[in-house]
């Protein structure tokens, strides 16, 4: 194993784990944005008047059809300076990833809400429940059960997408590995193999859990 250097690997591991902390943080906050904003988008698509719904739908489709990296560049180098915002790269990254996945989550929520049986809506009318009660007490709890596995999958997908943030110099795990290798002009195998294994160790158990959820909530 002449191409594997144990000392370099041991030196790398804590650095990569430190980067992994940023990766996790970005995933967590990005998912929070994606989950809450996705619900807002789904509500707009369902309840807003036609002249709001249509343009919003076009914008969402545009976001879905363009890559996060291009959006990241646009947000960081065009939107941020022109609005005079003093956000750091990580914050911009979290917002961009969050909005990107919110457009996907909106579709999931929409399907989940559509999947609630018609009888439930009739029951709401029959009991003349107030609007808020109907949504938060009856419809959404049932919809959430259906959409949990799909939303969870999107969290995992976003987790694997976080390295794109290195394009605007966020020091997440892959960026840390890249910087280490370009300082030494070596240890490529160590850096990217360990990074890959950390990813696998984190995402595989989570995806098994999602599969369990899927079976449990019976889609």
């Amino acid at each position: 194993m002449s191409w594997w250097n144990n000392e370099a690997a041991l030196e790398l591991l804590p650095l990569l784990l430190e980067g992994f902390r940023i990766t996790l943080l970005a995933t967590l906050l990005g998912s929070l944005v994606a989950l809450s904003l996705g619900l807002v988008f789904a509500f707009i698509e369902r309840t807003a008047p036609e002249y709001v719904r249509r343009p919003v739908g076009w914008v969402l489709q545009f976001i879905r059809f363009t890559p996060p990296i291009a959006q990241l560049f646009f947000a960081f180098y065009v939107i941020r300076p022109s609005l005079g915002l003093k956000l750091d790269a990580l914050t911009v990254g979290i917002i961009v990833l969050g909005v990107h996945y919110a457009t996907y989550n909106a579709e999931i929520y929409r399907a989940g809400i559509d999947g609630v049986p018609k009888g439930q809506w009739e029951a709401i009318t029959a009991l003349s429940l107030p609007r808020n009660r109907a949504w938060f007490g009856v419809i959404l709890p049932q919809a959430f059960r259906r959409v949990m596995p799909s939303l969870g999958n999107n969290v995992i997908i976003m987790f694997k997408e976080v390295p794109v943030l290195s394009a605007i110099a966020v020091t997440e795990m892959v960026r840390v590995g890249k910087e280490f290798t370009s300082q030494h002009f070596a240890y490529y195998i160590e850096a990217f193999t360990i990074a890959g294994l950390i990813y696998l160790a984190a995402s595989y158990p989570t995806s098994l859990l999602m599969r369990k959820l899927e079976v449990r909530f019976g889609n």
């Binding site: 291009a70 457009t103 694997k160 390295p163 890959g196 294994l197 595989y204």
Partner: protein, 242 residues
Amino acid sequence: MADFFETFADALPQLLSGIKITLILTVSGAVLALALSFAFGFASRSRSMFVRGSSRVVVEFFRGTSLVVQLFWFVYAMPVITGFQLDDPVYAGIIALGLNYGAYGSEVVRGGLNAVPQAQWEATIALNMKPLQRLRLVIVPQAMAEMIPPFGNLLIQLLKASSLVVLVGIADLSFEAEKIRLNNATEATAAFSISLVLYFVLAWLLNTGMRAWEGHAKAKLGRRVPRKRLLQPVGADEGGVA
């Protein structure tokens, strides 16, 4: 606003050369991914536990690790191990995209094959068809109708994922846009806006093409798809490029 159009005209040729790389990555990656999807998809239905097990491991491995990490691995680590340097990192990009999306696509193939009713398999045996005839004439045409919409989603994701090659310095569309900004920061707005629009147009064209193919495949099975549906975007249930 006049400035915007001036820089627009300046930036366009460079971006178009980037689009060429993006298209090469997307098309070659998709061809490789399609071939691997079928290989792993059929392997996952194999009678031999060894074949099933090893295809499962490969698929889970490529789905479980991030595409970006795979990309770095193929570009930087593989040459060190194998001592074999690809002439151009674009090849490494194609391999990473193909393997990653091949792993996702194999699940689509598996689902499509499972969706063909068991009776169809039995009928092919009753008609004394040879194994390849069964697949070519009966099973795959029916499975294909189920597979095309999710393949369409994956194709759009692959197009978007091709932009990740920026991180390893391959000169695709996003890379050229970033290069324009580095040369002249005032052109950033034009460069990044055009690149977004170009990506959107590409994705829209691919989506429309896949829709047409879906309509064609379903029409052959005697299931008509309403024309209006063909123009709608593919249902977006799962996001992501990684």
